[in-house]
């Protein structure tokens, strides 16, 4: 079990494993029988069209939703987190798309929000500031000062703070929901570097993205969801963009599989509205 702590090869031990995860909302089958493995020191990209079930799966892993069926194994134990705080305590950190930072507080306060270090009855600012710099250094983050309010940071810097915050509880898996969605070219590159650094420190990273270029740039494996099911899984060096797009949209041979599973019902339209 215990190999090297850092710089492990992409195929480390499995830290997070989902098997047969199913989630229904009323009459809608949002996820059916989804499986996914995340190893330590690997970046798994989770891609899919709108409505493919990515967000639902993210929320299931983050503990926001409880799956109706299926098994989540984390660090060798079967777990069922009921709430984001519990998932965080287990070691699954999530950076949501809307970052959820407090604009009026400074970087240190945001990094440790909800888990402030205290000395006696008071907040231990010195320890927190020191730790903040350590965290930001491990990410080689470019934040000029940790005592400025979040409002004065750029989009990429905010993303950095959000990612750094996810590392405060020393998690084993970090899940990033669309981390590059609203960023410029340089900032996107910065965040991609950040993701690679997370992998180097031996974390399992789940990257949710719409951007195929980003996914192919940093991911080790790509899991494609379509209509709430596992559509395909690629090792990144094997996958071409065309193949990926085909798997996401289901425009190639997957149509056949989809038809088979749905019987004779409306063939082509059904594929579009995923």
């Amino acid at each position: 079990m215990s190999t090297t702590a850092t710089h492990r090869a992409p195929a480390g031990e499995v830290v997070l494993s989902l098997a047969g995860v199913t989630k229904r909302f009323g009459a809608v089958q949002a996820l059916s029988d989804v499986h996914m493995d995340v190893r330590a020191g690997e970046v798994v990209a989770l891609v899919g069209d709108n409505g493919a079930g990515k967000s639902t799966l993210v929320k299931v892993i983050a503990g926001v939703y409880t799956p109706d069926d299926g098994n989540i194994t984390f660090d060798g134990k079967s777990v069922r987190a009921s709430g984001p705080a519990e998932a965080q305590a287990l070691g699954i950190a999530t950076v949501f798309q809307d970052l959820a930072l407090c604009d009026n507080l400074d970087v240190v306060a945001n990094l440790f929000l909800g888990q402030e270090k205290i000395a006696g009855p008071f907040i231990d600012e010195v320890t927190m500031e020191k730790e903040a710099w350590r965290l930001l250094r491990t990410l080689s983050a470019k934040i000029p000062s940790v005592r400025i309010p979040i409002a004065s940071l750029s989009g990429g810097q905010r993303q950095t703070v959000a990612i750094a915050r996810s590392l405060v509880g020393s998690p084993k898996v970090v899940m990033l929901d669309e981390p590059t969605a609203a960023l410029g070219v340089a900032q996107t590159a910065e965040v991609l570097n950040l993701i690679e650094r997370l992998r180097e420190t031996g974390l399992g990273v789940i990257l949710i993205s719409h951007n195929m270029a980003d996914v192919q740039a940093v991911a080790d494996r790509i899991v494609v969801l379509r209509l709430g099911k596992n559509a395909a899984e690629f090792n990144v060096e094997e996958a071409t963009t065309a193949e990926l797009v085909a798997a996401i949209t289901g425009a190639s041979d997957n149509v056949v599989a989809a038809r088979a599973s749905r019987g004779e019902a409306a063939p082509t339209q059904g594929d579009q509205d995923g």
């Binding site: 888990q115 010195v126 020191k130």
Partner: protein, 419 residues
């Protein structure tokens, strides 16, 4: 950390100042430039209030020199304290971006509860005060339940409370209308006749200045041990000396008359404690977080409902305490207690002092600064001998000005990226 910096040949740079984009702050001129930049970007702090206070002082002094007499300053501080304590609760509620319009009614009602228990029921002072404060806690807890469980907006339930508790005040007082407190009772003695002895007051001033310098020295030690930038020692000493001289002079000046009243010192103590709680404890940090971005606070595991609960409960409790002290100062509780302008004065004080109406921004000291401004205006207008109609109009104008400054500085902060 240190070895990476020695590579650049700048070994003395602290960990948090290593970034080359940071503007270096060195010497007095550096700190002055920092101060100017902060103002330009809309981080006004308490500067508008201080300027306003100076302006008010000059204006009233030229109209009526008695305005700055030690007698008038003593009475300004003494009479500012009760509503100041109510304003302290308002600061908390405003920090969450909520409002409590019922603090005046609550203060009147709880004072009436105290007076009825003390005078009509013959209970001891302790029991009467305790009961009144507990009523305040209960009202705040009830508000918090309305807010967190039913989702009733604070504006609505506190408006209901404004009417409801005014009715409760009339009901509790019954046909009596006015209950006079015995002049030898603790509340009346404490609020009206207790003043700090001159010798003790000077010792206190020295102790405050020493405590400030001492705490800053402690910070410097802690931070330099952690390889972080430290406050500039000469500046700390200058501030300490300014504190000593400033407070010392004020103390000398009020000692010409009766000196610092216990009531005022009690208020200042509450403000200092609240400031500590807001800036240095987890609870305070969470109050700011909820006021800044409630969703972010919830997601980071903060028990948001508990924060709301504590704040609403504290606000009503402070309103009750303020009401008791006001009753002591007036030596009576009447049907008018806490009604007329108590509400708006308390809210105006918090806003004038610099607490934002938009949540997440403000400090405990704003209650103190704001209420001094309002009380100074009231005293000044009384001395000049204008009608209370003018007083209302002036107070309204000052409030409008304060909110306008808040809004403008907020825009400046947004455009300069200070949130």
């Amino acid at each position: 950390m240190a070895d990476t910096e020695t590579e650049n040949g700048t070994s003395a740079v602290a960990a948090d100042l290593a970034d080359e984009r940071l503007i270096k702050t060195e010497g007095l001129s550096g700190y002055f430039r920092l101060f100017v930049n902060r103002l330009k970007s809309g981080e006004l702090g308490s500067l508008p209030v201080v300027i306003g206070l100076i302006f008010i002082s000059i204006a009233f002094y030229s109209a009526e020199p008695r305005f700055l007499s030690s007698r008038s300053i003593v009475s300004i501080t003494q009479f500012a304290a009760p509503i100041g304590i109510i304003a302290l609760g308002i600061v908390l509620v405003l920090l969450l971006g909520e409002i409590d319009l019922s603090v005046g009614s609550v203060s009147g009602f709880t004072a009436a509860v105290m007076a009825v228990l003390l005078v009509n029921e013959g209970q001891s002072m302790f029991v009467a005060i305790l009961a009144a404060v507990l009523v305040g806690v209960a009202i705040g807890a009830f508000y918090a339940l309305l807010y967190t469980r039913l989702g009733v907006p604070s504006f609505v339930f506190s408006l209901a409370g404004l009417l409801g508790f005014q009715g409760a005040l009339l009901y509790v007082l019954g046909t009596q209308g006015t209950i006079n407190l015995p002049s030898d009772s603790f509340l009346v003695q404490f609020t009206r006749f207790e003043f700090l002895a001159p010798a003790v007051s000077y010792v206190l001033v020295v102790a405050i200045a020493l405590a400030y310098v001492g705490s800053q020295m402690w910070t410097i030690r802690q931070r330099s041990a952690a390889d972080l930038s430290t406050p500039w020692l000469p500046l700390v000493l200058i501030k300490g000396a300014a504190m000593l001289v400033g407070l010392g002079f004020l103390t000398y000046y009020v000692n010409i008359d009766r000196g610092w009243s216990y009531l005022w010192l009690f208020f200042v103590l509450m403000v200092v404690l609240m400031d500590f709680a807001l800036r240095r404890t987890r609870w305070g940090r969470h109050v700011f977080a909820v006021g800044g971005n409630e969703e972010a606070a919830r997601r980071s595991g903060i028990k948001v409902n508990r924060v709301y609960f504590s704040v609403f409960a504290l606000c009503s409790t402070l309103a009750a305490v303020g009401g008791l002290l006001a009753a002591g100062l007036q030596t009576s509780v009447s049907q008018a207690s806490g009604t007329t302008d108590t509400n708006l004065t308390a809210i105006a004080a918090a806003v004038i002092g610099g607490t934002s109406l938009f949540g997440g921004r403000g400090s405990a000291y704003s209650a103190m600064l704001g209420i001094i401004v309002l009380q100074a205006i009231q005293t000044g207008l009384n001395l000049v001998g204008v009608d209370s109609s003018v007083r209302f109009m002036v107070t309204g104008a000052v409030l409008l000005l304060a909110v306008a400054i808040d809004s403008v500085s907020r825009r400046a902060r947004t455009s300069s990226g200070r949130g």
